[in-house]
Point group: C2
Chain length 348, copies 2
Amino acid sequence: MSDMKSPPRKRRGAGRITQDAVARHVGVSTMTVSRYFNQPDQVSEDHRQRIAAAVAELGYVPNLVAGGLASAKGRIVAMVVPNISGPIFADTIQGFSDTLSQHGYQLLLASSYFSKEQEESAIRAFLGWSPAALVVTSHFHSEGTEKMLANADIPLIETWDYQPERAPIQIGFSHHQVGVIGARHLHDKGYRRIAFVLNSASGDFSAQERSEGYAETLVALGLAPQIYTPAGELAPFEAGKRALTELMGRSDPPDAIFFANDNLAAGGLLAAQRAGLSIPKNCAILGFGDYPFAEMLMPNLSTIKPPALQIGVLAAQRVLQSLGAIDEGVEPQRLNLLECRLIERESS
Amino acid sequence: MSDMKSPPRKRRGAGRITQDAVARHVGVSTMTVSRYFNQPDQVSEDHRQRIAAAVAELGYVPNLVAGGLASAKGRIVAMVVPNISGPIFADTIQGFSDTLSQHGYQLLLASSYFSKEQEESAIRAFLGWSPAALVVTSHFHSEGTEKMLANADIPLIETWDYQPERAPIQIGFSHHQVGVIGARHLHDKGYRRIAFVLNSASGDFSAQERSEGYAETLVALGLAPQIYTPAGELAPFEAGKRALTELMGRSDPPDAIFFANDNLAAGGLLAAQRAGLSIPKNCAILGFGDYPFAEMLMPNLSTIKPPALQIGVLAAQRVLQSLGAIDEGVEPQRLNLLECRLIERESS
DNA sequence: TTGTAAGCGTTATCAC
DNA sequence: GTGATAACGCTTACAA
């Protein structure tokens, strides 16, 4: 046959080593190689060894894109966080990522900066990759996001924000409880004029919840709650300074201040030092977050530590359970309420 | 025909809305829909509008996995960092991620914890997704990694560690220069007995480089360098405390201490306060890193700020240039040496 | 500007 | 335990 068809020209993926190359090298079909990776038990010992050798020799790397297309399930999990570099979510991302990769899953990450629009656009892009699951931070989504999520039909996990009445798996803690823990601690230590400082940013609902836990507890203890919100649009650190200065300048100053977060508290601490006050003698200070700097301040900062790392790890575990990658057959628990821990240091 | 063939059962991607569905809804071929997304200019205005409407109505989300397989280029970029939650790399990741997503690329992220083995395993998993480019942190790879990278044939960028003699695109700064900047600053401020404190971890080569820059500068200024390394395996914060205590307890104590990083410096600052020393009167303190807590210390910490965010943003830009996604036709600059900035605060 | 056909590299299915 | 074959949903190449 002189006019035999010329082989189709290579247009793309040229040069990549494929499963087929491995299969031919060993003298089996591609299916055997595929099984070697996915169900090794079903491949004979002899073949397993020869395939392993061929994979090593050829430097074969399975094409997960092709695999994902064929099986409609890629080992990718997507996560949207408000930000990566802040003190809040970093540990969660770390725990999530590490736990996933231990089980052969990859993390697709994007940040929303607390914007529903950015969250929606990130999720839209993610869904195109058919992630095996999706983890979001907060329950506050745009309409479009909700619609996509409903259609997507993959495990969805909402973290940080604990909303038991919502359908997705919830992993978080109670901000209200944080307020209770903090108020009780200060009371236990003997303080009686306990103020709470809220950030000036009015949109921080979780800080609001903490203040409510604080207020209820104080009332239950027969004390008068006093919530102070610095005026103006200050950065938290500056707001904390102002709050302490104003509160301590009053005729009846507090003997303890519970700040809505550690940034505020650090500002308060600094202002107190500059004013020549002795902490906690003249006024105890308590924060929330256990940001990395808390133990480096002088005096170092008592605070309440949210289970950030634990949220990440647990989110990954719930994802892996949903996918049957661990604890096969076990339905992942839907409601996961974690505990915050009081870290008592010198400032209280 | 009573025995008409039953339609092939859906095994996978069942239910997903495809390009084909959109095409039929509009009455065009799939190629027109494909072009609508990839080369909209080549689609008539009329079709564009009708496709847009159909996409919205059906809630179509392009399957990037299929697209990636067909075109052998997915809009995914992979990055390996030592860790996500530490103070060092967080800004780089943030800048990288944000810049990428602004251009429609997604970030695949993993951490190596400074382990070459973990880096290799992460990269191996990444390559299966045919990332459009790969960004790593440091140049210190395992043999297997080097081999994979050589075969991969995608843009590779090495960040943080600036190694001009290596082939991949380099984005970083000079640790040596950091030492120079710090030494000069302290000299300019009038200090003459300037010590340098290294972390006890001997494996930190970049800290070593900073100390060399410091030592050379001091010699050039006619001063005697004095490098102190706390004994034992202490956490940086503790090591910093010990270093300051020991150095200041000497008969000829330094009048300024340049710590290899802010964690050490924070420990030094704290130890100084506890010892009743006034900073910077009795001894100036300078750090490196500008970790978030630096401005919250009392006195707040003078330090040298590495261009972390800038590294991330620039890495993304170089990736996008390599892919022709921005500045088409421009070859990305291979060597990118960025500047560190001295942040002068109260401690010096 | 649009359409047809082939193929990307893998896995599901079913037959042996 | 193994293999042949048909998808998976999209894009390249080429034709109209």
